[in-house]
Symmetry: C2
Subunit: 526 residues, 2 copies
C-alpha cells in the first residue's frame, strides 16, 4: 500500500492507512481496511499477508538480511523477488527460459514456441496489437493484488471483451446448424423463460409464493426481463437484433426470434451465456495493452541484475543453515547457497527434480494434477469487424475448437490476431496437442469455417500451443485442490505459484501465493 | 467500400465488390452484399445510399460539379462535406462554433462550456484520458457506417465498458437503501426466476408446453441459467460474489444472496440489467481513445480549407438556380450562393432561422420535439478502481443523478474523470439544467455520496452541461419520429442529421442521414 509516493496524488485513505501501518501494526491496518470496505472478499488473506510482509521486512531496516533464491521467473517468482529486492533482501532468481513470465507467454513476430517435439517461430507481422497471449489472456477487475502491481509498475491496461452479444453460438444440433448471434440466444432465452413463468403465475401455480398484489409486480419485472408484450408473451425483441432492411432510416423491426426449443432444451447452449456470469469471467475484464507479458517484463525490468536466465535447476537440498540449489546452464553446472528458497516451479516439473523436501510436501507435489489446455492463433484481415460487426469477444462452437476469440485491441485496423481455438483440457485438448503444428492449423481451419466462411481465404501464420508439451511448464494449471502444506515453510523451503490457491490458472493466484510466501518468510526470518 | 486502397491488405470480398461496382451498378453491388451477408440489418439503405452516391459522383469525372454549402460541422455535416470533397465537389461548411463536432463535444483542460446563461471553463488536469464526453459517449459495434469512417480516418478505438457487474445498483426502497453490486442483483434475479419456473414445471403447471422428456432438459437449462442446486433451488452462487474471507487461499464461498422480493418485485431494479440487453447498448460498445471528438477532428482535418468557423447562418433562401445562405461572423455579414445546400442545423435551432423551405418541411421542422439531457463530470483520484474494484461501467441510482459513469480508459492511473450524473431528459433533467453550475455540483455530490462515501473528499473540477441551454444545439436529440419529408430534396435544399433517422442521438444516425443526403444530391445533380 505504500509504493506510489512518486505519483501525483495520494488519496486521503491511503495516507491514513500508511499512518496506521506505522503506529499500529498490520492488525490495525487490517481492521481499518475492513471497516473502510477496502478489502475485497477473497483477498483478505492477501491483504494481511502483504501488510505482515511489509511490517516485518521493515524491522530488518539497514541491518543484515537473509539471502533468498527464487526458482522460476513466472508471475509468482517475479512478485516474490520484486518485493524482496524492494525491501533490500539479497535475492537471486533462477529461470530456465530466456524470458520472464513462464506461462504468461505472449507470441509476436519472431517469437519461438517450444514444445517437447516441435518448435514454431511466429510469423505475424509486427505491430502493438499483433500478439497472441498463449497463456493467461484476461484479468478480472477484482484481481486487486495483480492490478495493484500493474498500477505500481505502470502497465497500461485496456478492457478485454469477454462477453460480446454479436459473437456467434454455433451448434451442430441447434438453429439448423447455422451460427447465430449471442444476442439472439440470450433474447430468446430470457423471453421464453419469462413468458413461461408469467404463464405459471397467471395460472395460479405459484400462489403459495406471492400474493395477488405481489404477482402484479413480478409480472412487471418479467415483462421487462424478457421483453414480453402486454399479454406477457414473447414475440421477439430488438434485443435479439433487427429484421433485415429495418432500422436507421426506417423504424426498428425485431428480427424473428429463435425457436423456443433450440434455446430451452439444450444445456450446452445455455452454458455459453452463463459462462460470462461467473465471478472471474464477468465484466469488467481487462488486459495489458500490447500483450499479457507486459506485466512480467515490467517486474523483470526491476530485477535486471537478479534474474539468471537459461539456468535449469537440478537439485534443491537443505544445508543445515539454509539451502543449496544445484543447476546448470547450456555450458556449465553450478550451485547457489542461500538462507531460503521460494520454489515456484510447477509441480508437474518439480516432481522430477531431486530434492529433500519433507515427505508430505513431496506427496502433495506428486499428487497435483494438471490440465492440458491448448490454443492456436492466426493472423488475418479483420473480416469479423468489417463484414460481421464483431469487435472482440468469443464465439462458441460445439466442434473441436470450442472457441474463437476476436482481439480486444486495435479495433478498426486492417490486420489482427484471431485465436482460432482454446480448449481448456480434456480429450479434445489431448487430441489437439498430439497433432503436429501444421495438422492443428488444418483442424482449426476446418472447424472454424463452419462459423466463418471467410476463414481459409484470410487466415495465415497459424501458431499453436499445447501446454502439457511445453518444457518447464508441462501443463496448463492444477486441477486438483491445493494442499495447505505448501502454504507453510518446510524449513528453508517456501513455495509459491497459482497451484497453491483456488485461483488456479489465474495470475492473481500467483500473486496471492507470492504474498503468502513473503509473509511466511518474514515470520520465519524475524 | 472503395476508400482504403492505400491500406496494406484488401480482403478478397472487397475486391469482388469493387469489380461488381464497376460493371453492374449499385443494385448489383447491393444484391451481392446481401448474398454475402455483408449488410447489417438496419443499415441496408445506408449501404445502397453510399453505393449510389459513389457511383453517380464518379459520373462527373473531371467535368464541372455543382457547388454545395453544408450548414453545420457536426458529424452529419462533416460526413457530407468529406465525401463531397473527396469526389471533387466544391463545398463550403458554415459552422457557428469555433470547433467541429457539434454535440460531439469533448471537454478537457481549458475547454469552454457555453450555455445561454452561464459559461464554464474546464479545470481538469491534462492527460490523454482526462476528458469528458459531454455529448455522445459510446458507439455500438453494429454502427458500421460510423465505424467505417473511424477506420478510414485512422481514429483509434477502444472498448467502452457499458455493462460492469461490479458497478452498483442503488435504490432507496431496496436492499436496505444500500448500494449493491450489479452481479448480486443479476445472480439473484436469474436464480429466483429459474427456481420459480422449475417449481412450476415440477408441479405440472406447464405440462401443455413440454413433454415429460422435454421437461428434464428444460430443468437442466434452468439449473445452469440460475445456478440452482441439485434440487433446483437457488441458495446463492459465486456469480453474485464471494463471502468475506473466502476465495484465493481458501475455497470460494458464495456471498449471501439478496432477498428475493428486492429483486423480484421492483421493475425499476429489473430495468437496470435489461438496459444493456438492448440492441444499441449491448456489448461490444466502443469509444475513440482520448475522447469522442477525435472523430469530428479527424473529419475536420480533411476539410481545413472548407470549414468556416464562427459563422452563424441567418437566412436560407432559393435563388431560382440554387440557394443563397446569409450569415454573419462576430464582425461582418455576408452571403454565399451555391447550387445546393445540405442543412444539418438541428430543428430546435433551424425553426428560428428565416428560410423559404416548402411549408411541409417547415411544419416538420417546427414539430420536431427535443430531449433535454444533462451531464456532469468531475476529476478525482480513482478510488472506484483501487478501493472498490470498479473498472468502467455505470452505477445506477434512483436518486436525482440516475447514473455514475466510471472511465473506460486509463485504467490504473491515479486520476480519472468520473461522470457524476447523466439524465436522459424529463423533469429531473429540467430541474438539473435550471440550476447554476455550482448548484449542479452540489446536487451531484449530495446524491452521489449515497453510492460512494468517498465522493466529497475526492471529487473536484465539476463541469456540467444542459443541452437544452447550449447555443446552436438547444436540445439533446429529437424525441419525435423523423419526418420522411426531410429525407427528400426540397428543390436545392437537402437535410441531414440524426433527427432524420430512428437512431436519434447516435452519431451513426448522423452518418446514415449524411449518406442519404449524398445519394439524393447525386440523383438530383445527374
Amino acid at each position: 500500500m505504500t509504493q506510489k509516493k512518486n505519483k501525483q496524488t495520494t488519496p486521503p485513505r491511503r495516507q491514513f492507512l500508511e499512518q496506521l501501518g506505522g503506529i499500529g501494526g498490520s492488525a490495525a491496518v487490517y481492521q481499518a481496511m475492513v471497516a473502510m470496505g477496502l478489502l475485497v472478499p477473497g483477498d483478505s488473506k492477501a491483504a494481511t499477508n502483504k501488510a505482515n510482509w511489509q511490517e516485518k521486512a521493515a524491522l530488518f531496516a539497514s541491518g543484515p538480511k537473509p539471502s533468498v533464491a527464487v526458482l522460476g521467473a513466472g508471475i509468482a517468482g517475479l512478485c516474490v523477488a520484486y518485493e524482496l529486492k524492494k525491501a533490500g533482501f539479497p535475492v537471486t532468481v533462477i529461470e530456465p527460459r530466456d524470458r520472464p513470465g513462464g506461462r504468461s507467454h505472449t507470441l509476436r513476430a519472431g517469437s519461438v514456441l517450444q514444445e517437447t517435439d516441435s518448435q514454431q517461430v511466429c510469423g505475424f507481422a509486427s505491430g502493438e496489437d499483433m500478439y497472441f497471449n498463449a497463456g493467461p489472456a484476461r484479468i478480472s477487475q477484482h484481481h486487486a493484488n495483480l492490478l495493484n502491481y500493474c498500477s505500481e509498475l505502470n502497465v497500461p491496461l485496456q478492457a478485454f471483451v469477454n462477453d460480446n452479444r454479436g459473437a456467434y453460438i454455433h451448434s451442430a444440433s441447434a438453429f439448423g446448424g447455422k451460427p447465430v448471434r449471442a444476442r439472439e440466444v440470450i433474447a430468446a432465452m430470457r423471453g421464453n423463460i419469462s413468458q413461461l413463468l408469467a404463464k405459471s403465475l397467471n395460472a395460479g401455480a405459484l400462489d403459495d409464493e406471492f400474493t395477488a398484489g405481489e404477482r402484479a409486480f413480478v409480472l412487471a419485472v418479467l415483462k421487462d426481463h424478457g421483453a414480453l408484450n402486454d399479454f406477457f408473451q414473447f414475440t421477439g425483441t430488438t434485443r435479439g437484433g433487427l429484421a433485415a432492411r429495418s432500422g436507421g432510416l426506417s423504424p426498428d423491426v425485431p428480427a424473428t426470434p429463435l425457436e423456443r426449443n433450440d434455446v430451452m432444451l439444450d444445456a450446452n447452449i445455455a452454458f455459453v451465456p452463463s459462462f460470462v456470469e461467473s465471478y472471474n469471467q464477468a465484466a469488467t475484464m481487462m488486459q495489458p495493452v500490447g500483450g499479457m507479458d507486459r506485466i512480467a517484463y515490467a517486474f523483470a525490468e526491476q530485477l535486471q541484475a537478479e534474474i539468471f536466465y537459461g539456468a535449469e535447476v537440478s537439485g534443491i537440498f537443505r544445508t543445515g543453515t539454509g539451502v543449496r540449489i544445484e543447476g546448470r546452464t547450456a555450458t556449465e553446472q553450478g550451485a547457489l547457497e542461500t538462507d531460503y528458497v521460494v520454489v515456484t516451479i510447477p509441480p508437474s516439473v518439480l516432481r522430477d527434480i531431486p530434492n529433500d523436501f519433507s515427505p508430505g510436501i513431496q506427496t502433495a507435489i506428486e499428487q497435483t494434477q494438471y490440465a492440458n489446455p491448448t490454443k492456436i492463433a492466426f493472423q488475418s484481415p479483420r473480416f469479423w469487424e468489417k463484414e460481421e460487426q464483431i469487435y472482440g469477444g468469443i464465439s462458441w462452437t460445439d466442434s473441436d475448437i470450442l472457441q474463437i476469440w476476436y482481439p480486444s485491441g486495435g479495433f478498426g485496423q486492417d490486420q489482427g490476431i484471431l485465436v482460432g481455438s482454446y480448449l481448456f483440457g480434456g480429450g479434445n485438448a489431448t487430441n489437439f496437442g498430439n497433432l503436429s503444428p501444421s495438422a492443428r492449423i488444418e483442424l482449426a481451419l476446418t472447424a472454424g469455417e463452419k462459423v466463418h466462411s471467410q476463414y481459409r481465404a484470410n487466415l495465415s501464420q497459424g501458431i499453436s500451443v499445447a501446454w502439457s508439451k511445453v518444457p518447464y511448464s508441462l501443463g496448463g494449471w492444477a486441477t486438483s485442490n491445493p494442499s495447505p502444506l505448501l502454504l507453510e515453510p518446510d524449513g528453508p523451503f517456501l513455495f509459491a505459484g497459482d497451484h497453491l490457491t483456488y485461483l488456479r490458472g489465474w495470475q492473481e493466484g500467483a500473486v496471492i501465493s507470492a504474498l503468502n510466501a513473503l509473509s511466511k518468510l518474514a515470520d520465519a526470518a524475524t
